[in-house]
Symmetry: C2
Subunit: 346 residues, 2 copies
DNA sequence: AAGTTTTGCTTAAACGTTTAACTTAATTAT
DNA sequence: ATAATTAAGTTAAACGTTTAAGCAAAACTT
């Protein structure tokens, strides 16, 4: 019955050096296999054996302090519980791991203050670079980042005034295409459900819709702008108006995000409307939820994998070469057509 | 036209000390407001002003190296893209931030090797503690963690053989209750869709079902065990058998996870079955997808918020007091009853 | 055989903090 | 007036690494 030592000292490079009977420098050289520094074969063996036996694991905190590299990439998404972002996060995590980086994820909840505190957190933790889906009113914050020479790349969203690496989709074009698709399928009273926002990428979606619609004569207010903080409520009242109180009812609805689509579809179900007989639907983004909807949905599919991988690629580039030229990648979303927007029959 | 210095040196405590005209120790004392060490009012002012003007931000890497605390909590989930885990992650992140911790999230994909490498990553990064939803065949890995005195708490899942802090739900009871509910509503041929697994919490769900069913006479094989890597495929063939080829068809199905439920519901839609007329449904977990299903679903709702907050609480406890007694928290899931399991009418 | 190069390894400084121990000056006690 | 105490600050070591520079011995040159 012997008393145990309670505090387990973590094995450091020092312990390995001691056990192997060499200097700590040698251990470091061997374990990082810096073959340029000339270490003898038997020393290499001794060190490896000692490290193995002691179950040595390097202390990344110390390593980072010395090398000024944490090998941490920060990711700021608007909402990690939104499948769009959680899918991207997953892809980015994999991709980052592949090249030896750890991903630190933060969720801003579309809140500029939380966003800024996340940025600060990442800076304080000395992240090597950031992948950011910025929220409204964060231009100043991004500019501060640039002054500090923190490498970052914007995904999903961007600010035209800010000169930064960006990865976006063809928001305007795909939105134009969706609207055209509905027009071609003989829908006459097409409505858009969008966010009340200043975010450029969403404005582009709206603009694409508007421009495509100019082809038609109808020139009413056929855009429903939703407050992101009251989605269900705004959609409820908006759809009540449109489908119960209005004289000429929409025969097609295009939702510009998955959250809007899910909320809208719920309401349409409650209103007892049939898709696409009563109203055609096109949704944005892909989410598991669509699969349980009675009518297979037409939706815009974003190239999530490509967004994630190029984000990591460009950021990595930026990290290793500060003066890499700016890149503005535009990836094409694709229109997946299904029953919910099939040609109108009447 | 003057040439700019390209490399922005980050402001360190040293710069602040220089600017304020005091020693770096004083700066440290002021900025961490260690009032016990006596610093004069004017010095405090000078330091704060200098730090402010220089826009000083502490280097957490250096701080961690010295204090041996990273204020990082690691979270390992099975799949961050699964809403069950992404919701929990969100809650845990908030909760961790509240008490000054940063959350580092890893997704193991139910893969023991990836799990182990995540554990190693967290250890190497000197996380202060871990919140873990372990996967199969990781007992040894957890035991290693214990030897290293890394504080951790298990959520969702646990191993009976491992003495650790755990947070689980009343898997057996809730499953028993679900089954009882279906029996009470006159369903006679109730089937369970579960995973082919050794994970204790899932076995408990199955056992609860079995035991509740003993009340009934029927003693056939009414459990469909699904391989987690071929969910859609296994459910497809399983349901084909049950609903097309078998003589006496199920009149109720209980799914033991959200992924099984979503996959199963998709198949039932394809088979053209009506819920609950043709077959009653109870699902597990809550997910947005359920809301778009034609019939409002009866499901088991896990107390996600409570799981997250208690996980952080217990872990924090463990971190600050290594010898805090072990805790085994069992939280109650609740049965949300809706149309999909309404009393059978015939 | 003397000089040069190569090989193999060690020494020591540095990264940016924290904090115990120390110093010095001012204040209080005797 | 001197000793003891307190207040306000500084010095320096340490955390666990990396890596430039140094050094001695061995191996080559000539």
């Amino acid at each position: 019955m012997h008393s145990e030592i309670d505090v387990v000292k973590r094995i450091s490079i020092k312990d390995v050096a001691l056990k192997a009977g060499v200097s700590i420098a040698s251990v470091s050289y061997v374990l990082n296999n810096k073959i340029d520094s000339r270490i003898g074969k038997d020393t290499i063996e001794k060190v490896k054996k000692a490290a193995e036996e002691l179950n040595y694991r390097p202390n990344n905190v110390a390593k980072s302090l010395k090398t000024q590299r944490t090998h941490i990439i920060g990711l700021i998404v608007a909402d990690i519980a939104n499948p769009y972002f959680s899918q991207i996060a997953r892809i980015i995590e994999d991709e980052a791991n592949k090249i030896g980086y750890t991903l630190l994820i933060g969720s801003s909840d579309e809140n500029a203050e939380k966003f800024e505190s996340l940025i600060n957190m990442f800076c304080d933790r000395q992240a090597d670079g950031l992948i950011i889906a910025p929220v409204e009113n964060t231009k100043a914050c991004l500019q501060k980042l640039q002054k500090q020479k923190m490498p970052f790349v914007l995904i999903d969203r961007h600010f035209p005034e800010i000169e930064a690496d960006t990865i976006q989709i063809n928001n305007y074009d795909i939105s134009y295409k969706v609207t055209e698709h509905l027009i071609n399928n003989s829908y006459k009273n097409i409505h858009l459900v969008a966010y009340k926002t200043h975010l450029e990428h969403l404005l582009q979606r709206t603009q694409g819709f508007k421009d495509a619609l100019k082809k038609q004569t109808s020139e009413k207010n056929n855009i429903l702008n939703i407050n992101k903080d009251d989605i269900d409520q705004d959609i409820n009242s908006g759809f009540e108006d449109l489908f119960k109180n209005s004289k000429i009812k929409p025969d097609a609805v295009f939702f510009t995000s998955n959250k809007l689509a899910v909320s809208g579809l719920k309401k349409l179900m409650k209103l007892g409307l049939n898709i696409p007989q009563d109203v055609a639907i096109v949704a944005f983004d892909e989410t598991e939820a669509y699969e349980l909807f009675a009518t297979p949905l037409t939706f815009v599919r974003q190239p999530l994998a490509a967004i994630g991988t190029t984000a990591v690629e460009i950021l990595h580039n930026k990290i290793t070469n500060q003066l890499a030229p700016l890149q503005h990648i535009v990836l094409n979303a694709e229109l997946h057509i299904d029953q919910s927007s099939q040609p109108k029959i009447n």
